[in-house]
């Protein structure tokens, strides 16, 4: 749907036979897939299917029991690889630091690593906030923001590192439909503008089909199907069909 950007900014991601168990309960049962540079790859699946755990492996927050993850052909467990590639994650909750203002949250990466002088950080923060349509909220604290604003601040914070790979964990959950559309448009616009690789975990079907270049459906820790949005939509797999066509059917009891 969205052609990958051509500036080569994004990274190639390959996941090979990833396995993970918690308390002897297998959560990931041999996941393998690749994501091309500049692509938006959407991982869908029901709650508890292992999507977020997979995302945490991709950014190094979890260690796999078996298998490996390669970024531009190098294992992320090899020394220095995580530092070499700029990666960022937008958490489901936003995960903004509540004790810091919006500006401090967004500029945290640059300030802590002393990459820019304070005045330059302030300029970059203002620029990134403008990019996500949130100019003028620099001095607010996370508890003063709505859910949608928090998510957009989290995206701005992720953008500060000029990431080659952005991972989005349920970016539209808990948001009203209009804000959800804004966030989805933002994901596509950022990819077009920056050419970064994006991996989006969601169970929001509309958003998934709207932004994905390719998508995969995870079910009970395994990838059930990978393909273009059209291929998923046309799939005859009963699990895929059930997930994509699940609808609430109100019964027609009339009120007395």
């Amino acid at each position: 749907m969205n052609a990958p950007a051509s500036n080569g900014h994004g990274v190639h991601v390959e996941v090979r036979d990833l396995r993970k168990s918690f308390n002897h309960e297998p959560v990931l049962k041999g996941i393998s897939f690749t994501v091309e540079p500049g692509e938006i790859f959407v991982l869908m699946g029901p709650s508890g299917s292992g999507k977020t755990v997979l995302l945490k492996h991709l950014i190094g927050l979890e260690e796999p029991d078996e298998g490996e993850i390669l970024v531009d052909g190098e294992s992320i467990r090899a020394p220095g690889v995580m530092d070499k590639h700029r990666m960022a994650m937008v958490f489901q909750s936003g995960a903004l630091l509540n004790s810091l203002s919006v500006a401090e949250n967004v500029g945290l990466y640059l300030a802590e690593h002393r990459l820019k002088p304070p005045r330059e950080i302030a300029r970059i923060v203002a620029e990134k906030l403008e990019l996500v349509g949130l100019s003028g909220v620099e001095d607010k604290f996370p508890n003063e923001l709505s859910g949608g604003m928090k998510k957009r601040v989290a995206i701005a914070r992720a953008l500060v590192a000029d990431p080659q790979l952005i991972l989005y964990d349920e970016p539209t959950s808990e948001l009203d439909p209009m804000i959800a559309v804004t966030i989805a448009e933002e994901i596509v616009a950022l990819k077009r503008r920056l050419g970064n690789t994006s991996i989006v975990v969601t169970h929001d079907r509309e958003m998934a089909f709207g932004v994905a270049d390719r998508m995969a459906l995870i079910h009970e820790g395994e990838i059930r199907l990978i393909g273009s949005p059209g291929e998923l939509r046309d799939s005859a797999d009963p699990v895929v069909k059930k997930f994509l066509t699940a609808e609430f059917k109100p019964n027609n009891h009339t009120q007395p």
Binding site: G60, M87, A88, Q92, S93, L96, S99
Partner: protein, 247 residues
């Protein structure tokens, strides 16, 4: 239990390794110092004046009845500076500051703020643990010195104004000066420094290993305070024994 001890020792070791980052983290250390001082100074005053007062009230009449009233200043002075001020202040700080440390870091853990730090390549030990451990290690000994002075003052007040004791200010402090040396005060300050490191590491460790939601945070806070107090009392005996042997 052994896993917890191992993890705490590893955290202590990593915090020691991060000490050279202290200058970079000076703003956070100063913020924490202000927090600790601001939250504890009034309570330190109240606690210390009554600790000094009550030890004088308990021992004063007994000494005076036996004609040993002139020894009261030394007894109260040594008890306060070598034992009561470091232990009571450490327990107070474990409850007041340690619990806040465990709760704050625990909620950051539960609400994925620590994961967010790690995705930005920011080490939670440098960012969260180091400033807290350094600040408490500076603040607690300073509070103990303050507590010792206030405790002596409280003891002297009770000694002077309680009619069953009636030992004058001058007599109380003359005997205190005669019996209490610099090393005695240093003994208490050194103890409190070790207790401070223990409180900082135990509470930060509990925060970092918090699991679950608000109930998990509550459990971590309780464990942090209880474990800190138990360790303070055990270490107090061990340190007292070591210092006595050194004497």
């Amino acid at each position: 239990m052994f896993q917890n001890i191992g993890e705490m020792l590893a955290l202590f070791w990593r915090t020691l390794g991060a000490l050279r980052q202290s200058w970079r983290q000076r703003r956070k250390i100063l913020d924490q110092l202000f927090e600790i001082g601001n939250a504890s100074l009034l309570m330190t005053c109240i606690l210390s004046v009554f600790i000094g007062g009550v030890i004088t009230l308990q021992s004063g009449p007994v000494l005076v009845e036996r004609g040993l009233g002139q020894l009261l200043g030394g007894l109260v002075g040594l008890s306060v500076c070598k034992e009561l001020a470091p232990v009571m202040m450490s327990i107070l700080i474990a409850g007041r500051i340690g619990s806040a440390m465990a709760a704050e870091i625990g909620s950051m853990r539960v609400y994925q703020e620590i994961d967010a730090l790690r995705t930005m390549n920011i080490d939670p030990i440098h960012y969260l643990v180091l400033p807290r451990v350094v600040a408490i290690s500076v603040a607690l000994p300073a509070l103990v010195v303050f507590s010792i002075l206030i405790g002596w003052f409280g003891g002297a007040m009770v000694a002077a104004f309680n009619e069953r004791i009636a030992v004058s200010f001058q007599a109380f402090f003359a005997n205190l000066r005669y019996n209490v040396d610099g090393p005695d005060i240093l003994n208490g300050v050194l103890k409190s420094f070790i207790f401070a490191v223990v409180i900082g590491i135990v509470c930060c460790h509990q925060g970092l290993t918090t699991v679950g939601g608000p109930r998990g945070i509550g459990r971590s806070v309780t464990k942090a305070v209880v474990n800190s107090i138990v360790l303070i009392l055990i270490l107090d005996y061990v340190l007292t024994r070591i210092f006595l042997d050194m004497d």
